[in-house]
């Protein structure tokens, strides 16, 4: 227990250093935030244009889709604060600089996690909070305490699920020395996929996204519950399981990562 407290202490110390480092380039920092807000606003506008002539996509109207979108970006922005740099683990392994994480008086996982505390995520965070508030009022939602619990559970669970996948992708580097490219090929398309209701995709894809890489728990299943929508396969209460799925999935990914570290042999360069 004492060592855990110490680890957390060191973690925040390193995080503070990381934040100071990022704030050194004030202009770049601001442009980065503006850039991400533009990027996601562009995606929202594209969605609006897409729905203009059709009005609904499998019974989902524009603001419901924005809600789905905002929920995924919101948990993603929490995830990237802690885990976005995990995709670059392959560089450390190829260059042999990963060794230093193993010789410090802090667990290598925490140490690597503390390498960056991505405050640039404020861009995504601002956008998604704004989009969420807009969708909430446009859909005239009035949530009970229970629904707010589900909502925050989905945020935390979603961050853990996506964080787990980042950890899993980084662990691939221990075996194959590749992770950044795997990220772009797996994470990027999948994160685009979940911006649309899962029900438009074939059954096989729905199963993969629910049971293997549980992206469905990030936004689709909670949104069904929160917006009172029906799905032919999934009962609404599944939406309340996000946090549980997130914890289990992250724990499994973490175990894979530990296996990878044990297997790691330095390049020695």
């Amino acid at each position: 227990m004492q060592s855990f407290v110490k680890a957390v202490h060191i973690y925040w110390y390193l995080v503070a250093a990381s934040i100071r480092a990022q704030m050194q380039y004030r202009y770049a920092f601001v442009m980065n935030i503006v850039g991400w807000m533009m990027h996601y606003t562009g995606m929202g506008v594209t969605l609006w244009v897409l729905l203009y002539s059709f009005q609904t996509l499998e019974g989902w109207v524009f603001w419901e889709l924005i809600f789905l979108f905002a929920l995924s970006v919101l948990s993603w922005s929490i995830c990237i604060i802690f885990f976005f740099h995990f995709r670059t683990l392959d560089q450390y392994i190829v260059k042999g600089t990963f060794d230093r994480f193993l010789v410090r008086p802090i667990h290598p996982f925490f140490h690597f996690m503390a390498m960056k505390f991505d405050i640039g995520a404020i861009g995504q965070l601002l956008f998604s909070i704004l989009a969420f508030i807009l969708a909430y009022s446009k859909l005239s939602l009035h949530w009970s305490f229970w629904k707010w619990t589900v909502f925050f559970g989905a945020l935390l669970g979603g961050a853990l699920i996506q964080g787990g996948i980042m950890v899993l992708i980084s662990a691939i580097a221990f075996w194959t020395t590749r992770s950044e490219r795997v990220f772009w090929v797996i994470m990027y398309p999948l994160r685009n996929l979940i911006n649309y209701p899962l029900s438009i995709f074939p059954r096989a894809i729905q199963m993969v996204i629910t049971f293997i890489l549980p992206f469905a728990f990030v936004n689709y299943l909670p949104a069904l519950l929160l917006l009172n929508k029906a799905d032919p396969i999934f009962p609404p209460f599944w939406g309340s399981l996000s946090l549980l799925v997130g914890i289990v999935f992250f724990w499994l990914s973490f175990q894979v990562w530990l296996k990878g570290v044990n297997r790691y042999n330095s390049t020695g360069s």
Partner: protein, 271 residues
Amino acid sequence: MVSLKGNLRMYLEFSRKSFQRSAAYRFEAWMRVFSNIIFLFMWGFIWYGLYRGRESVSGVTFQIVFSYVLISQMLQGLHSAGTPLWDIQEKVRTGDIVTEMIRPYDYPLRLLFADFGSIAFYFFTAILPIYTVIFILLKPVIPASPGQWLLFIFSAFLGYLIRYCLELTFGLFTFWLVETGGVEDIFYFAISLFSGAMIPLWFFPGWLNTLAKFLPFQGIFFVPNSIFVGQLSGKEILPALGVQFLWLAISFLILRFVWSRAANKIIVQGG
């Protein structure tokens, strides 16, 4: 005349070299195909979902839109084999671009011909076989006559050149703006929406459609795609090609202007 011929031979040599070099990056090429196909299916299912229970929207059937998405995704795949924007920006930031400038060739032209080489390799080894299978399996609408095929290929080529000029121009802005964060995202958004890469302009709200018609981006994918699926036919094709030509000429002139200014800037800084 001799020097023109010699020049062309030199640039074609760049194409040949990058064609050969592409063979070394086969892993990257397959990764790109993989992600291209995922997006193809994603958009296919999105349009399928949108059309459920509807016969035609804005006078367009699902069959037409689906064919549009297919050919659009194929063209985007080809575009993606070219030099990416960040590569040019990185060259400017690190100063590597200087070594290109002091050599006895024209850099924008050299880059274009090198891209032709890598695109040709990507086309023959990945895009052509995969999309042939997809076309046979899914039976989309294809051009009915050899003339329509030719017009489509010609228009797609013009579209490529337009995007090339615009993107390289944007990349050269790095000479003045070191950090292009927000501007870059607006640029990418404009290209992806107004080129009709994912959503055909038919479905745009009236005012946005009008706006798109006055922007250079529709010449990149919308015009060739529309020719391919037959939505743009007969007498309408010629003016559309004319507009593409016009935008190509304009974006080419802008590129040359920006390039000459950039070259000057380098000389001043290097003094």
